[in-house]
């Protein structure tokens, strides 16, 4: 027996689990990996299939234990169910989710490639720097101790030169473009001269992150060049080794050549290319599977048989990587069409 649950009373983690699931089952571990930003091919492929990659890395500090507890609670409440192939949203879960339009609207601002979790500490320190400067004060306890953040802000401040007033003006314009609540949430997190945040402001990590996303969504190199420079624009989702693999592959190297050159396993190079493909890297897909296989693969796909097993049944001589890259190619095409 389940009791009616008010979506706004759920924890953020529970809300995100509901946001990520559909009526199609997804393995719990895959959903966890998507939400916490685990960069394995199986995780991101699962996210791609499920259509929840938009939530990739939204809650990087979520522990596996907390995730499992929330899943158990949602199952007890009848909002999600465990099927053989994984977790899925129940009708009650879908209804509960759609009742909370405020959360859904806020969640829409999140983009995995904003790098908002890395940006916010830089933002806080940059604001503090400008604030203390406006009082002529050079002796203050920095808001952020991390040496990389300090180095970044120091560099950015050096780039500003005489433009500090312009940076403040830009920031005011950016905040003016936000709705009052979002702007107040962000302002409540600032540490600056004569101000140590609003003790009554929300400390909800997700709300703050989404407010940060809303701020980043306003930024552009032309309208807010100084703050855009601090941010650096959208962040690559691929790790540096993955980017290098893509670059070498696109320069004509084969998977085996890349593996040998960089002393990597072939499976590692395959992982790199799968993740890169899922995150939209430009790749020539025809290099991954035999041209002769394509018509049959396409026919099977167009008949609605999208799973690896179904495709392999039709062409049993194909290898995993070949089928998988075909799947990714098709899913990318479907997403673009949408």
């Amino acid at each position: 027996m389940t009791t009616k649950v008010n979506h706004s009373e759920l924890s953020d983690s529970a809300k995100l689990i509901l946001a990520g699931l559909t009526a199609q089952p997804q393995r719990a571990l895959s959903l966890y990996g998507v939400l916490s930003g685990r960069q394995t091919a199986s995780t991101v492929f699962s996210g791609m299939e499920q259509g929840n990659l938009r939530l990739y890395g939204v809650t990087p500090r979520l522990s596996r234990g907390d995730f499992e507890n929330e899943v158990a609670a949602l199952m007890r409440a009848g909002l999600i169910a465990q099927q053989k192939a994984g977790l899925c949203l129940t009708d009650a879960g879908a209804a509960t989710r759609s009742a909370d339009t405020t959360f859904a609207a806020a969640l829409k601002t999140f983009r995995p490639d904003y790098g908002v979790q890395a940006f916010l500490p830089q933002f806080y320190l940059a604001v503090q720097t400008l604030s203390e400067l406006s009082y002529g004060n050079h002796r203050y306890r920095p808001a952020i101790a991390d040496l990389h953040v300090q180095a970044r802000v120091r560099w950015w401040y050096g780039q500003l030169g005489q433009e500090t007033a312009a940076a403040v003006a830009e920031l005011t314009t950016l905040f003016t473009a936000l709705d009052q609540q979002t702007a107040d949430t962000l302002a409540g997190q600032l540490l600056a001269h004569g101000y140590s945040g609003n003790p009554e402001a929300s400390t909800n990590e997700l709300a703050i992150e989404l407010a940060g996303c809303a701020l980043l969504a306003q930024m552009s190199p032309t309208q807010s060049p100084h703050w855009y420079q601090l941010w650096g624009g959208r962040q690559p989702l691929l790790s540096q080794p993955m980017q290098q693999t893509v670059s070498e592959f696109n320069a004509g190297a084969s998977i085996e050549q890349i593996a040998q050159r960089r002393r990597l396993r072939v499976s590692t190079v395959n992982e790199h290319l799968q993740v890169a493909a899922i995150f939209g890297a430009p790749l020539t897909f025809s290099r991954f599977y035999p041209a002769a296989a394509k018509p049959q693969l396409l026919a099977t796909w167009n008949a609605g048989q999208h799973s690896y097993r179904e495709l392999l049944d039709v062409l049993p001589d194909l290898e995993f990587m070949q089928v998988r890259m075909f799947q990714i190619e098709q899913l990318r095409g479907m997403q673009h069409a949408q």
Binding site: L130, D184, L190, S196, P199
Partner: protein
Amino acid sequence: MRSEVEGVIEQLGYQNLRPGQEEIINAALDGKDVLGILPTGSGKTLCFQATGQLRAGVTVVVEPLLALMRDQQLRLQASGEKRVLAINSQLAPSELSVVLQNLSYYQFIFIAPEMLTRPDILRALQAVKVGLLVVDEAHCIYQWGPDFRPAYLRLGDVRQRLGAPVMALTATAPENVRSVIVRQLRLQNATIYAGSVDRPELFIGRESLLDQRAVNERVGALLAQVAGPAIIYCPTKKLTEQLAQQFSGLHGRRVAFYHAGLDGHTRTLRERQFTEGSLDTLFATSAFGMGVDKPDVRMVLYLGVPATLEEYMQAIGRAGRDGQPALTALLYTAKDAQHTAGMLANLPSPILVKALYRAPKAYAGSDDPQIQLVLAYQQAGYSASEVNQALDARIGSKQKAFSAVVNFLQADGCVRAELLHYFDSPAKTHDDFCCGIADAGVLAQIHSEQQADNQGFNTWQEVFKQIFNVSD
């Protein structure tokens, strides 16, 4: 006071020195080894800050915890000193390599003992002039102490190689520990300054209560009767949140909770809000306190039973740093004592040790004290099985430390004397503001200045006006 010392401390924002600071600084300026034992909050940092500014060469400061290192780094930056470096796991190998080539640029280098004993780092330090080697939390060298770090044992070798005088600092060192510090660090003709750890302005309260409900009621009563900023240390995160909610707004108090489950920035905000007065009551776990220099805390309550008296002293030491009367009280139940006794064996398990040895780099940035402890052993050259043996031995020293806590709980007579006896420190003569149960007479002696109304800025427009110095 030496004129050069006066000049430097003025630059650092101080008018004068507290007891012990001058002796320690002077000894170090004269190139002598020194062991300084100063109670929590009495300015150990200034001792090496001032000396480091005056002595030629780099000041290397050994810190056992990342959080301590971060705090010291921020303090120095706040004083205007920018040439500060923390060598820890935050540095990528390529960055470390660049930094090691440019060590002479820095005035202060903070480093964990495990990293200091690395051959590449030692070589780099030997190539620059090290003016002073500071060993903070020097009691970590005591093998039978609850805070023992094996890498501290190698610091004696390190000081020989660096050839710099040593300033060893700690808040807690009974006589037997002092002699171990001197021997292990090979201090020569050391000046030893052992200030009394007594804080006469603190009332040392101790109350055994029936159950948690009674503890909570007592907390409420004291919050109502004692004005001024207060810290209430709780044994669990859950209790901090529960009590913060329960007492929110009580008698106009501005209340919040603080524990390691909050993200780093929120913790920083709450520390500053408490220090600057927009919060005046914090329900916190032991995660709170480092880097919080608030002189006018009028009350510190400690709920539950501490595992060590060192931990307890550090907590209550945050009260009354302005020298004015302040209340401290340990509020506990029999169940709390059992719970703490049961936690003594809560050391890293063999499973955790195995996981850490398998992939030490994956855990390098962790703040978790258990993880840091195992990594410390690993970096000191212990095998996994040796670590498990050492951890078993630690249980013995933890039990010994806890038995001192039990003695303190059970002592008849002057509670203060019992507490300070553990630290081989003299106690003030028992008087009507000394120890025991805080009655009306005691509470009447605690005064707090009228707290200014919180100048709240609720909208971003108001905040921007303030922070960017925009006049009307």
